[in-house]
């Protein structure tokens, strides 16, 4: 589903944020991406989502090269940044329809999916209000709904649990699993190691822009815990 091959990103000024990263996410997988602050997680996710340009390596989503066929790649992808800013002058329902229009989602399908996800996240009643009046958590839920209604083949999430209440976080985990059961894949970054350990089929750990360990969660963790593995790799233990 997602193939990142020898991807590197160097910022103006010469700082190498990511160095020769290679990882593959298979259909049906939830793939966790963890690392310390500034390790290169967000830079990688933004490049995968086609939001940020890069010079070295290739990124392919469902057979579409993000550089050569960005529109094709984005059509099967949904991306949520760590702090999704949504148009404050729009009402919630207008934003969902805007996204649905950009992704050519038929009217019947969008009505059903908005009803399903907005109902589950208890946001239906608020959809008529301007996004400017939403709390942080409500915006996060709206952004998640806008991602789920796209029925993406690859869902890319940057710190998706920040700002969500426990019930919404639980709900989201259920929907991620549901998405993967349908053959899609999820690639997300998180600092919540307990969640990553329980939720992810595979995990990659990045340090100073370089992949230091990756593989199936069970193999990676072994008899230890993900927290122990992570801290050991970070040299904190």
């Amino acid at each position: 589903m997602l193939r990142v091959e020898h991807y590197s990103k160097t910022y103006p000024g010469g700082k190498k944020a990511v160095d020769n990263l290679t990882l593959h996410v298979q259909p049906g997988e939830i793939y966790g991406f963890i690392g310390h602050n500034g390790a290169g997680k967000t830079t990688t996710l933004r490049a995968v989502a086609g939001v940020m340009d890069f010079t070295e390596g290739t990124i392919t989503i469902d057979g579409h090269d993000i550089k050569k066929d960005p529109v094709g790649a984005k059509r099967v992808t949904a991306f949520l940044p760590d702090n999704p800013d949504l148009y404050e002058f729009m009402k919630g329902i207008d934003y969902l329809n805007f996204i649905a229009d950009l992704y050519d989602i038929p009217a019947g399908q969008r009505t059903a999916d908005i009803g399903k996800y907005a109902g589950a996240f208890e946001l239906t009643g608020n959809l008529g209000s301007p996004i400017g009046s939403y709390s942080h958590g409500m915006r996060q839920k709206l952004a998640l709904i806008s991602a789920f209604i796209r029925r993406p083949r690859l869902l890319i999430l940057d710190e998706p649990f920040v700002g969500l209440d426990p019930a919404a976080a639980h709900l989201m985990k259920g929907y991620l699993a549901e998405l993967c059961q349908g053959g899609s894949a999820v690639f997300f970054s998180t600092h919540v190691l307990e969640v990553a350990e329980k939720l992810c089929h595979k995990i990659a750990i990045i340090k100073h822009g370089r992949l230091v360990k990756s593989g199936p969660t069970a193999e990676l963790v072994g008899d230890s815990s993900l927290e122990d593995v992570f801290l050991e790799l970070e040299g904190e233990k």
Binding site: A49, G50, V51, D53, P70, V71, G72, K74, R75, T77, A78, F79, P81, P84, D85, L86, Y87, F89, M90, G92, I93, D94, N97, F98, I99, A100, D101, L102, Y103, D104, I105, P106, A107, G108, R110, T111, I114, G115, A118, T124, G125, N126, L127, G128, S129, P130, G132, S133, Y134, S135, M138
Partner: protein
């Protein structure tokens, strides 16, 4: 005091950086910011110097120089109000750093004072550009010698420093009203648009009233001065500049006291005001019904329309020219007789003048230019969307054209009918103005991409002060002036050349902008 200066420095930095290219570095960044200030200053000085000269020429012989300072003071006051009232909502009450600064160990009065002082500095710039050229003109043209002493300049500087205090006090009060209405009225943008519209009607009525007074100045200067009792503080300012220290002190008190009252009065409730103006709670009574689908381009156009009509600052700053086009077209039909009498003189170049008026109105509509910067923190939404970058750019250009082209056609048709143009003249007018409208939209888009300001602290700085919006307004005016020059050059040769040369210029500039935008636009967008 140290805290106040630190806060003021932050406000001023934010204001100054608003004019710069957010991607620029070092010298380029400083140069672009300086360029914007130079453009605004140059235009302000020119307009002020020109009108002061005209007035002083008419009034100096009858020793009524005082009226020049009164009228220029009024111009500075009204101009400053127009310039800063709608900035107050963003700069004083709606800063994105409100939470950060209000949580710090500084009094809310101090914070409010630092932000109001930033507004004062904007007004001071306006006041200086208007009053100081009047002083220069007075020094050169006066026949009573009032402008020839250092004390005159000292008094003028005192007036130029104190007048913006009154301006600031009024604009903060009006801005607070606008912010309050935005937060409290359920259709916030509509309510704010209505208030803004009424405000502009009052300003325009006042301006026309002033124009009538100025036109009768030379004949009855003393009578007009006597009739200005309603503007007593400005009368005192005029008397003060010309030598009456007592009245200058009274004028200064009229400016300082309201300013102090506003700063300390609103400062005491600043925290409450910021909270109240920002508090909008989401309603929870929406019932989901069947949704309808539309195309990508329609969705993007609808978004642009929602932002334009739903952001009063954007609508009134970039859309006023459209209203002027429609109102001007209608007025030309309604007041046809007066218009014909005014322009009926022999040899008056009606067709180019009509085209120039329409094109000037179009110049004041930089709708596409700030639209890239307005995406700001929302740009990720469009970047991750499955569409080529060129679609977004052409939709933004198309949105401006969707608004400007119909208004141009209506205004052109009305003016053609009112002035009794032949069919070929009407067609020429429409072709020239439509070409200009297309070129203006394309150029504005290029400016938006070249001088983006994606990290602005609020929308005000993008719409009112960004380099992209400034250049999108004034560079086309320069092109218009060049077209005027070509018309004159052509008229020295043959009749058709006079019309063909400006048309060729517009066509050439439009084609160049279209080619550059097509070739480099998507890359520039990707690089943001």
């Amino acid at each position: 005091m140290k805290k106040f200066l630190t806060l003021l420095k932050v406000s001023i930095q934010s204001m100054l950086l608003s004019s710069t290219n957010s991607r620029g570095r070092g010298r380029k960044k400083a140069a672009t910011g300086l360029g914007a200030v130079v453009v605004i200053a140059g235009l302000g000085l020119y307009l002020s110097g020109f009108y002061s000269y005209m007035l002083m020429q008419a009034l100096a012989p009858s020793h009524m120089e005082i009226l020049v300072f009164i009228f220029m003071g009024m111009a500075a006051l009204v101009g400053g109000l127009l310039f800063t009232t709608f900035a107050v909502k963003g700069v004083v009450f709606g800063g994105k750093d409100n939470d950060l600064l209000l949580s710090m160990p500084v009094s809310s009065t101090l914070l409010m004072a630092s932000r109001v002082t930033a507004i004062y500095l904007e007004n001071l710039l306006f006041s200086a550009f208007v009053l100081l050229p009047a002083g220069v003109v007075c020094t050169i043209l006066t026949q009573s010698g009032v402008g020839h002493s250092l004390l005159f300049w000292a008094r003028l500087v005192i007036a130029a420093l104190t007048l913006p205090l009154l301006d600031t006090a009024l604009s903060v009060l009006l801005g607070a009203l606008v912010a309050f209405l935005s937060a409290r009225v359920s259709k916030g943008a509509l309510g704010q648009n209505i208030v803004t519209g009424l405000f502009l009607v009052v300003v325009f009525y006042f301006s026309f009233h002033l124009n009538r007074m100025i036109s009768g100045l030379a004949a009855n200067a003393a009578g007009i001065k006597d009739s200005l009792n309603w503007a007593a503080p400005l009368l005192w300012m005029g008397e003060g500049i010309l030598g009456d220290w007592g009245l200058l002190l009274a004028f200064a008190a009229c400016c300082v006291i309201p300013f102090a009252l506003v700063v300390f009065g609103l400062g005491r409730v600043y925290r409450q005001a910021v909270t109240a103006f920002a508090a909008r709670s989401a309603q929870s009574n929406y019932k989901l019904s069947a949704q309808s689908a539309s195309s990508q381009k329609k969705a993007l156009l609808r978004k642009e329309a929602q932002r334009f009509f739903g952001t009063p600052m954007y609508f009134w700053n970039a859309g006023l020219g459209l209203i002027m086009l429609l109102a001007g077209g209608a007025a030309s039909l309604v007041m046809r007789e007066k218009l014909l009498a005014f322009v009926g003189m022999e040899g008056f170049p009606l067709l180019p003048m009509a085209a120039a008026v329409i094109c000037f109105c179009l110049c004041t509509c930089p709708i596409a230019a700030p639209s890239v910067s307005l995406e700001g923190k929302y740009l990720w939404i469009l970047r991750e969307a499955p569409m080529p970058g060129s679609t977004l750019l052409w939709v933004k250009v198309g949105f401006q054209l969707l608004l400007t082209l119909p208004c141009t056609v209506i205004a052109g048709a009305c003016i053609s009918i009112a002035l009794g143009f032949h069919l070929w003249q009407g067609a020429t007018l429409l072709i020239a103005t439509l070409l200009f409208a297309v070129g203006h939209a394309l150029f504005g888009m290029l400016m938006g991409l070249t001088f983006p300001k994606l990290d602005a602290v609020n929308e005000t700085v993008i719409i009112k002060q960004s380099l992209a919006a400034t250049l999108a307004m004034f560079v086309p005016m320069a092109a218009l002036a060049a077209a005027g020059g070509l018309y004159w050059l052509g008229s020295q040769m043959t009749g058709w050349a006079a019309l063909a040369l400006p048309l060729l210029l517009f066509a050439l500039l439009t084609a160049v902008c279209a080619a550059v935008l097509s070739k480099h636009g998507p890359v520039m967008l990707q690089a943001l």
